[in-house]
């Protein structure tokens, strides 16, 4: 029960408590509800017919046989969609993605037609009976080629204006460039020319994907006056805005309900199946469920493959004096949030180093493959892969210890970042020292002697700016029995946000966290939140939640005064309501809004004194054993350290660190979507390996340092992504240390390592 004046009866601090997850019981009993397993009465099932060509004009789609199958109610193409939604295009950055392919297909797997049936198996069978005829066109797959190619994925670019910071995206023709982000600080050319040592490298990352175990799912229930979506989404507010836009309706007629999420990792952001489910429900005039199979996730959204050309000039003292970054992001056929990945990660492309003269070009490019979007790091893991490999390569070439080389060049507290923002609450040395301590870096290292098993160790460090500016709103409702309910749009997809937010409410109201109920996400009752993404929630929503709880507490105090209680009275809340309303009745409702201060970066130079409200800092150390006869790499130790500001829930922080690190161990060591002529050839869990129990490093350590985030709620900041940054380069640096081969493109599987070893011996293997 809420206590009015905490000092009178302290329940103990709720901050820094490893409160077991509030939803734990639902999850361990199998009773938690997910959209993918949900059924609503009268629901129909939709299955999709997908393109078999990467780029082509649609000549015809033959749905006649499918329509005749008993149980099939509708077979839908974009022409049918356009009868209910005049403009069938959606997307967060560009309104470029059609609900079903319109005139053209742009990647293999793009939905071309949908079958609506009473039974999912019937729908699936009917899909097999559809045929399509395409006039194939030349396609472009590579991000670097896409910049200069005369193959254009889109005839004309169609920017949306949903986000304030993407407003400058302009209509353009004859280009695959969806965004060209620039940062210019100082004079790179001059500084580089004058540098004693010059280095230039090119790194690449492969196409990998989220693979949430609950595949994408949405049920739309359209009525003529309102619509309800049951949706596996990380951003219900955005979905509501976009669905309202498509319908030309006010937002209050669109309701998005979000059950538990079988995770997201960035895949279930913005808008995915929602527009299609809406259109199908409008056509069927019944609730329609669209739910992907595991395989179909390979045709929905992936991480951006990238090519990063990095150039640095170093002076005779080992100080990096100039850096140029050219990053090409392979955005796939539709922009999704790619332009924002390009821009927001672009600003930290030069790394956590103190460099006066910096030049960054970051290009978002359309290609004819599955679209790319956000994946746990918003592009930053791809950047760190390159700049931390580059850092090690320079140090080795200069014969400087890689750790000392970094220490000499780190951007410290109070120094300007490449954007010109002064670094604050950026405890990079503290993080570095913690990694080195846990790695026992100063002790002699056994490199494996003459055996064919070579041992090595590697280090990497990175930072990221949280996305800005974004807004969160929260409501805290204190009922007449003294219980408290929190309404917030942050989606708990496994990160533990409900528990952490409840802890903040409990701290302010001085009650046990377990007494706070967090309502399931429902846009009819939960207020606006920009989205559960980019490690922003604990900070932004945390502020809103704290303010809402403080507002409720202040209103309770006012109520006490109103009913004649003396100042400092600790009247039980139930008695307070009783006194005011004569029975157990009424509510006290507190609300809170948070939007950080922000200065937009200057166009053309990216300079801003306030581009982000907080920095994330991470470091990793890895020890490996490389079998030089097979190329097999065994990870004997992996240490990850992040700065979390203040751990609201220490256990959740540790779980986020190890979970993020292990996911990226998969991306680093073996995950890869194989694409042949635009066709994904390993679209299944049998052919696309993800980490399991046997892939765990022999020793895995997850640590955090607590450097109070001075503008954070209770000193806290987000940690969902930060442990993803350094795993890849730390492992590549360790492999180089072990056996002297440098791998510039992930994954670091046995074949890649063995090929590199053979190449180094002057006996390269032929291409497979």
């Amino acid at each position: 029960m809420t206590i009015l004046y905490p000092d009178a009866a302290k329940v103990g601090s709720q901050i820094g408590r490893s409160v077991p997850r509030l939803e734990g019981r639902d999850k361990v009993t199998g009773r938690a509800e997910y959209t993918h397993t949900m059924r609503v009465p009268g629901m129909l099932y939709a299955k999709l017919f997908r393109s078999t060509v990467a780029h082509g004009k649609i000549k015809s789609v033959d749905t006649s046989a499918a329509k005749k199958l008993p149980g099939v109610l509708h077979v839908v193409t974009v022409e049918d969609v356009m009868k209910v939604l005049k403009s069938p295009y959606y997307g967060p950055a560009f309104h470029d993605q059609p609900i079903l392919a319109h005139e053209k297909v742009r990647f293999v797997g793009e939905p071309v037609a949908a079958v609506i049936a009473t039974d999912p198996h019937i729908a699936e069978q009917a899909v097999q009976m559809i045929t399509a005829d395409y006039e194939e066109m030349a396609a472009v797959y590579d991000e670097v080629e896409a910049l200069t190619s005369d193959v254009f994925v889109h005839e004309q670019l169609k920017p949306a204006h949903t986000f304030a910071d993407l407003k400058h995206l302009k209509d353009a023709k004859n280009t695959n460039l969806a965004l060209d982000y620039r940062l210019r600080r100082g004079d790179f050319d001059k500084a580089y020319a004058a540098a004693e040592h010059k280095f230039e490298h090119e790194f690449r990352t492969q196409k990998v994907l989220h693979l949430s175990f609950e595949p994408f799912a949405c049920i739309a229930d359209y009525k003529d006056t309102h619509v309800t979506l049951y949706d596996s989404t990380q951003g219900p507010s955005f979905v509501r805005t976009e669905i309202a836009r498509l319908l030309g309706w006010p937002e209050n007629k669109v309701r998005i309900k979000v059950p538990y999420l079988g995770s997201g990792y960035g895949s279930k952001l913005y808008i995915k199946l929602e527009a299609l489910a809406l259109a199908l429900s409008m056509i069927a005039r019944k609730p329609v469920k669209v739910a992907h199979t595991f395989e179909e996730m390979f045709y929905q959204i992936t991480r951006h493959p990238s090519t990063f050309r990095i150039k640095s000039g170093v002076d005779k003292n080992g100080k990096i004096v100039a850096r140029k970054c050219e990053v090409f992001w392979n955005g796939g056929a539709y922009a999704d949030i790619g332009p924002r990945v390009t821009q927001k990660s672009g600003l930290t492309a030069a790394g956590p180093y103190d460099i006066d003269d910096v030049w960054v070009d970051s290009y978002a490019l359309y290609t004819n493959v599955t679209p790319s979007g956000a994946l746990r790091g918003f592009g930053v893991p791809q950047l760190v892969w390159a700049y931390e490999g580059h850092t090690d390569m320079m140090a080795r070439a200069l014969k400087i210890d890689p750790v000392e080389f970094r220490r000499k060049n780190l951007a410290r507290e109070g120094r300007p970042h490449a954007t010109s923002q002064i670094l604050k609450d950026h405890p990079i040395e503290k993080v570095m020292d913690k990694v080195l301590e846990r790695m026992e870096w100063s002790k002699p290292f056994d490199s494996g002697g003459n055996s064919h098993i070579k041992r090595g160790r590697g280090f990497a460090i990175a930072n990221k700016a949280v996305i800005s500016p974004t807004t969160s709103v929260a409501i805290v409702n204190v009922s007449a029995d003294g219980s408290a309910t929190l309404y917030c749009g942050t989606v708990d997809m496994g990160q533990g946000s409900d528990t952490a937010m409840a802890q903040m409410v409990a701290e302010v109201l001085n009650i046990p966290t377990e007494d706070v109920r967090v309502t399931p996400r429902d846009t009819d009752v939960t207020p606006y939140d920009m989205g559960t993404l980019g490690s922003r929630s604990l900070f932004h929503m945390g502020h809103a939640v704290r303010r809402a709880a403080e507002d409720a507490r202040d209103k309770l105090k006012a109520l006490a005064k109103e009913v004649g209680e003396p100042e400092g009275s600790n009247i039980p809340i139930t008695d307070l309501f009783q006194k005011r309303y004569g029975m157990q009745a009424g509510n006290v409702i507190g609300s809170g809004i948070y939007k950080p201060d922000y200065t937009p970066p200057a166009p053309g130079t990216g300079q801003s004194p306030n581009v982000t409200p907080f920095w994330m800092v991470a470091g990793a150390g890895a020890e490996v054993e490389v079998d030089t006869e097979t190329g097999h790499v065994k990870i004997t130790k992996l240490v990850n350290v992040v700065d979390c500001g203040k751990a609201i829930n220490p256990k959740s922080v540790e779980t986020q660190i190890s979970g993020a690190a292990l996911m990226h161990l998969g991306f680093t060591m073996f995950e890869k979507m194989h694409i042949d002529g635009g066709q994904v050839t390993n679209a299944s869990l049998a052919d696309y390996k993800i980490p399991g129990f046997h892939d765990l490093p022999t020793k895995l350590e997850s640590h955090y340092v607590e450097h109070d985030q001075s503008n954070g709620p209770f000193g806290a900041k987000g940690v969902g992504e930060v442990a993803t940054f350094c795993v890849g380069p730390a492992l590549a640096n360790a492999i180089d240390d072990a056996c002297g081969v440098r791998i510039m493109e992930m994954p670091l599987n046995a074949e890649t390592v063995y090929r590199a070893l053979r190449k180094k011996q002057g006996k390269p293997l032929e291409d497979a």
Partner: protein
């Protein structure tokens, strides 16, 4: 899809039940559609991730690959049978206390396998745990915490047995 429907009889979490199934229905669909049990979930659809793990005649199977018709006359046990209104099983308690899940989608599958593991081997080593749980994947990668949970559950079960 016009194939004949057959009526089957089996024991579901101890209770005798009947169901009408078609030859292409799998066990997960049957449990979800006709019995409202959604703890076993299809994810990979290939029997590789373990999200759909249920016991048939006391043996763990992948419900997404197990045809519903084959359970005629069998005993089926799902995660929903492990708890009562006021008590979780030791494995379920251990998963909460060790924070051994994030999104929770794969959790029922893990809990079924860990329950079977501890039935067979009340005191497994780290290697035995890893080996036994190879067929259960967790995309949130909560493996270190699952390892802790298994050991904690083993302790709880022993304490419960001697109490």
């Amino acid at each position: 899809m016009t194939a004949a429907t057959r009526t089957i009889t089996f024991k579901l979490n101890g209770a005798p039940v009947t169901a009408d199934v078609k030859p292409h229905h799998n066990l997960v669909e049957l449990l979800q559609a006709q019995f409202g049990l959604t703890g076993a979930r299809e994810s990979c659809g290939q029997g590789l991730c373990g999200c759909c793990t249920v016991l048939v005649n006391g043996r763990a199977v992948s419900g997404c690959l197990y045809l519903a018709l084959f359970i005629d006359g069998a005993e089926v046990t799902t995660v929903e049978s492990l708890d009562t209104r006021d008590k979780l099983s030791p494995v379920q308690e251990a998963f909460i206390e060790a924070s051994a899940f994030q999104c929770g989608y794969c959790t029922p599958g893990f809990i079924m396998m860990v329950t079977q593991l501890l039935d067979e081997n009340p005191d497994p080593t780290d290697d035995q745990i890893k080996h036994y749980l190879t067929g259960n994947l967790c995309r949130c990668a909560t493996y270190p915490e699952v390892m802790d949970a298994v050991k904690l559950a083993a302790k709880k079960r022993k304490a419960g047995a001697t109490a």
